[in-house]
């Protein structure tokens, strides 16, 4: 069995950045395993622009953003396998994969970065009643068909879920001649970025039904219509509020889940909140030498932060391989009032470097204060005009702000 220093599972934005981070820190024996026909991951079907504003200070399309990283991988001469499916990872870091060139292959890694991204929640995940006709798609699948394969999956479309992919697809299908009748969102607020509400819905006068969900699907062979209803505060449909739309397609943009199956086989422990791995401040999972970054760790809304996280993870995987990693006792990081989740879940004590924490709020917060408590004492507070669950927030703490950390760091929201 071959041994490789660092194997990266997934060649999307997280995997490519992790590879670059490790390479720049001196690791040369790197292998990226990618199941698609090219490196780039989901960015390749995200043909809209808006990527790279933080990282490159310019606005790029998804494919161009991916191409920049792919060029770096080529320039560094980092090895990768395409059309390659990883079947298993063990806790002692033996990876089994298969492709048409090497067949069924095992490779031993000294360190692994999990960068498999996420997948879409389906109709089954949200239990929509009604018939089971053709014409119900996840928005991302419809996006790949349209933008890469060249198929428009329907002519009269209704979209459930106001996540960014749903909004982007509402515009995209309108541009390609389909009629988008509306977008329903079960929450009282949109789950997409505000700019996408403007440029994808309002620009094309597509109605957004907040506090609504799909309560029936009609049609036996093909979708012939759907019914939406308003929901109450417990998200239960309110009788008498039904509206029917005649359409041939229902797109679902109802959330993303980290694709963690492979990590679980290797004993990587998951957070019930993020559905991704539990990690410390260098994104190392509870299994030594197995790291995680990008959407398989927690679902991001901005790719630039995925790249940053990948670079950070790759750099630290390199330190691990080079025995340069500073090991220390770890303190817990937890989500207090108003915080949905915070990452990392553990942070090394007596750190000599700054740590960036990522978090999401539980619901819309206006004019609220973010408090950072170290062992019960507030060490930092930041006033925020608005925080919404659709936008991942970040806060960086300096090494000296973490000096006194003994057992627990808590992030919480104080509202007036």
């Amino acid at each position: 069995m071959n041994t490789v220093e660092l194997v990266i599972i997934g060649g999307g934005s997280a995997g490519m950045a992790a590879a670059c981070g490790a390479y720049e820190a001196g690791v040369r024996d790197i292998l990226i395993l990618e199941r698609d026909k090219e490196l780039g991951g989901i960015l390749l079907q995200c043909i809209h622009n808006g990527f790279g504003l933080h990282y490159y200070k310019e606005e790029l399309s998804g494919p161009e953003y991916a191409e920049r990283w792919e060029k770096k991988i080529e320039e560094y001469g980092i090895a990768y396998r395409l059309d390659t499916m990883v079947l298993d990872i063990t806790a002692d870091k033996v990876i089994t994969y298969t492709n048409t060139v090497e067949g069924y292959t095992k490779v031993r890694a000294k360190a692994i970065v999990l960068a498999m991204g996420c997948r879409e929640r389906t109709r089954g995940a949200i239990h929509i009643p009604g018939f089971r006709p053709a014409g119900v798609w996840t928005a991302g699948t419809a996006q790949r068909y349209l933008n890469m394969e060249g198929y428009l999956v329907g002519r009269r479309i209704f979209i459930l879920g106001s996540g960014d992919i749903g909004l982007i697809m509402a515009r995209r299908m309108t541009l390609e001649g389909a009629e988008v009748l509306g977008v329903a969102e079960i929450m009282p607020y949109s789950n997409g970025l505000p700019r996408n509400i403007q440029q994808c819905l309002r620009d094309f006068e597509i109605p957004l039904y907040l506090s609504h969900t799909v309560t029936n699907v009609f049609g036996k062979d093909r979708v012939s219509g759907i019914e939406i209803s308003q929901v109450n505060q417990k998200f239960e449909p309110i009788a008498g509020t039904e509206k029917r739309f005649d359409c041939d397609t229902l797109l679902l943009s109802v959330g993303l889940i980290p694709e963690t199956q492979l990590g679980q086989n290797a004993g990587v422990l998951l957070s019930p909140k993020t559905k991704g791995a539990l990690v410390n401040d260098i994104n190392e999972t509870e299994t030594e030498g197995i790291f995680s970054c990008g959407n398989v760790l927690h679902v991001h809304d901005v790719v630039d932060f995925v790249s940053e996280e990948g670079l950070h993870t790759g750099k630290n995987a390199a330190a691990y391989l080079q025995n340069k990693l500073m090991r220390a006792e770890e303190a817990n990081v937890s989500a207090g009032a108003g915080i949905g989740y915070v990452l990392p879940q553990r942070v090394r004590k007596t750190l000599a470097e700054a740590v960036t924490f990522s978090f999401r709020v539980t619901d819309v917060k206006k004019n609220a204060e973010l408090l950072v408590k170290v062992d019960g004492k507030v060490v930092k507070s930041v006033k925020k005009r608005q925080m919404i669950p659709a936008e991942m927030e970040r806060i960086t703490l300096k090494a000296e702000e973490l000096n006194d950390l003994q057992s627990e760091l808590v992030l919480e929201i104080r509202e007036d």
Partner: protein
């Protein structure tokens, strides 16, 4: 007149309130957290401009579609006309990143350019 819209310049998504005079010129703007929001509001009140992304048919490539983007923003009300120009195009790989696919589309002083490179694939 008062107009409310969301700034699309960056993912922050500031909710802007713009005041305009009778000619539609911006007189005051509130809600923006940076300078770019101000110039965006001014443009949005005069002539709303958008970047447009789509795809064109491509042959001899790994996929059937090549993603394209406008080289500069175009007036919002020209989007569907530009889309019908884009629909007419069929090209062959190889294509370079930012290669011009349609020059000066609809006379708007913006080009339609490839938003990725695509190598030639021999089937």
């Amino acid at each position: 007149m008062e107009k409310k819209f969301i700034c699309i310049v960056c993912p922050m998504g500031c909710e802007l309130t713009a005041e305009t005079d009778k000619q539609g010129n911006l007189t005051a703007v509130a809600g923006n957290r940076c300078k770019r929001g101000e110039s965006y509001a001014e443009q949005e009140c005069k002539t709303p401009m958008r970047m447009l992304t789509s795809t064109v048919r491509i042959e001899k490539a790994l996929y059937q579609r090549l993603p394209v983007i406008t080289s500069a923003s175009i007036p919002k009300d020209m989007i569907f006309q530009v889309m019908s120009e884009i629909d007419r195009v069929k090209i062959e790989a190889p294509v370079e990143l930012r290669q011009i696919i349609i020059k000066n589309v609809c006379g708007l002083s913006a080009d339609i350019i490839a938003s990725r490179s695509m190598a030639e694939v021999h089937q």
